[in-house]
Symmetry: C2
Subunit: 354 residues, 2 copies
């Protein structure tokens, strides 16, 4: 319970590409909503530099030691997108900073709520956030010139705790069913184990139904009312969670409408669900990056540390600014508002409704 | 060139669940369109029994030896959906018959064209069909009680030949770009190799652009005109191909609107892209299964063996029956036509336009 702490430290990782641009706006909103708590030193907002692709490349470290140390001194983190180099990129082929942070901070659950009242959709996704294709993602074996192997890893503990998180959420929120999404007809062992873990945990929650779906059909039909009728809580191995939650966010209205929470026992990292948007930067349109996904992450962070009212207020203001009064939506079209102009309007709205 | 053969043998694998029901209708259409060729013994239609889950379970063979032998005596195959057991299913946990057939017959390319003229969409997907998460899909290692590992495999030859197929298609069809879809920021080695192979083959086709996209963003935004503008030909590792082609089919109007071609140097298997529909069977509604995806596969088969006119005719008739005159579309609603009634109407339509 964060309210019992003398002080909650919110670490800020601006990230790469459009990250620092949208983070600047997120900070304006955080400072506004928490001005009293910051003045009273109940909250500290602490910028942590150094998680940039340039610094990571120079140090040849995915998350440089001093950055990780600084992160671990915070209670919660707000993170902008970071570049994840691949073998064919110009940078050194370092592992993903996202995947590394999730592992180092043991953030085993990735939560992305998606709500579309008009469609009767109220989904909670519980993505296993450390294992699967991710944990050994940078340690494949080039057996010989012709043959390469990557690994998918599943542990009993890993599947158990994400399943438990999903069932606890379902129980506490009056949800009646959990859908486990895998490709267990092909990836038989690890996905099969994942399903078995969900079923086993499920025995402790006899009121909650378990359904099994395949990732290909789920990806195709998630937005199809015949398919998604009655679905509420999803639990998914890492890679399928990555794919399906992006689809769900798009169904909700685009990446700007969803934030992402990476939750562990000790730490929590909140982030935008989009990438660094190199195209925008290259076209000199970085200032027009849409800050909404990161601002949703801010709302999730506020609720996580116990400021439910402020979280609700921010979500409400975001809704007004993006849905009800579409004129200031930033969609990167020439006629749109910049990230800063959008945030001006958001802050006005917050003051008006606050 | 099949037209040079004395006789083309079309093997028929009815499959499980709704498979035999829709295959019966597909046979009516095949027999109608090829009646002359069958009478002249230029075409033989040969039913191959035994690829049922019951027989496979009894023999404890994914594709029983005698079935595989019979298949190998045919030139092309029309296949209904088959059950792929997973560890938690009641059947013995045999590997996927689909994956096994694709490997045994060396069907390295899975092709699924998607056309939506109103949206300016004309996509060709080249899914690598043997490797990736599939080739060792049933051979994961349970290291100890707590830890399990599955494998993702990539070979130089495997990536090279699917890339080559995609570029050849692009060249021969005046397409200007190829999009390679991976998760190479995480699955670094095998997906990285896949991209490198595409780039290397691409050097022989200097007029064709190569774009790289991630599978999560592609899954979410494939239907978004800002994202998909100008995309034409896709080349994808197996699992991403599985997911993205299902999404593309749904965008086109549902699984019923797309068939799937598994192509190798010597054999080719055409199939419906949906599963065995156990729910329909269990609800006693099997006769109302939608035969359209399998009929699209018939059209692809006809074109593959050189009967482009008949293929075109069938596609046209399907379009009339499903789009222009929606009344007989089978959507499994109580008011719909059965598979047989739909096919009656399709055959009438074929005669009318033929
Ligand atoms: C950037 C990438 C490594 C990351 C992931 O795959 O997890 C992102 O897509 C996400 O979902 O947070
Ligand atoms: C049934 C299943 C094994 C198969 C696959 O995953 O390839 C199917 O989804 C397909 O796309 O043909």
């Amino acid at each position: 319970d964060y309210k019992k702490l003398d002080k909650v430290i919110i670490g800020i990782l601006p990230g790469d590409g459009v990250g620092p641009i949208i983070m600047k706006q997120a900070l304006r909103v955080l400072n506004h909503l928490l001005q009293k708590e910051i003045a009273e030193k109940k909250i500290e907002i602490r910028i942590i530099d150094g998680l940039t692709i340039e610094n990571r490349s120079a140090k040849m470290q995915t998350v440089p030691d001093d950055v990780l140390e600084a992160i671990k001194k915070c209670n919660v983190i707000l993170k902008g997108p970071t570049v994840t180099p691949k073998a064919t990129d110009p940078w050194p082929n370092l592992p993903s900073a996202n995947a590394t942070l999730r592992r180092e901070l043991d953030l085993f659950a990735n939560l992305r709520p998606v709500k579309i009242p008009e469609k009767n959709i109220d989904w909670a996704f519980f993505r296993e956030n450390i294992e699967g294709a991710y944990i050994l993602g940078s340690k494949g074996i080039q057996v010989n010139e012709d043959l390469a192997i990557d690994f998918v890893v599943e542990t009993k503990q890993g599947s158990d705790r994400i399943a438990r998180a999903a069932f606890e959420y379902a129980k506490n929120n009056g949800k009646k069913n959990i859908t486990v999404v895998t490709k267990a007809n092909i990836v038989k062992l690890t996905d099969g184990n994942f399903i078995k873990a969900v079923r086993k945990v499920g025995q402790e929650y006899p009121d909650i139904d378990i359904q099994e779906r395949y990732v290909d059909a789920t990806a195709a039909k998630l937005n199809n009312p015949e398919f998604n009728k009655g679905l509420e809580v999803f639990v998914l191995p890492n890679l399928y969670g990555d794919i399906i939650t992006d689809i769900a966010a798009e169904i909700q209205g685009g990446l700007g409408t969803a934030g992402s929470a990476n939750i562990g026992k000790r730490y929590a990292v909140f982030e935008a669900i989009h990438g660094t948007a190199p195209d925008l930067i290259n076209n000199g349109r970085g200032d027009y990056a849409n800050p909404c996904s990161l601002l949703r992450a801010v709302a999730m962070l506020l609720s996580h540390i116990g400021y439910n009212d402020k979280s609700f207020q921010l979500d409400k203001a975001l809704e007004i600014c993006t849905i009800t009064e579409r004129k200031v939506v930033v969609t990167t079209k020439k006629t749109d508002a910049s990230a800063a102009e959008f945030t001006d309007y958001l802050l006005e709205t917050l003051k008006r409704i606050g």
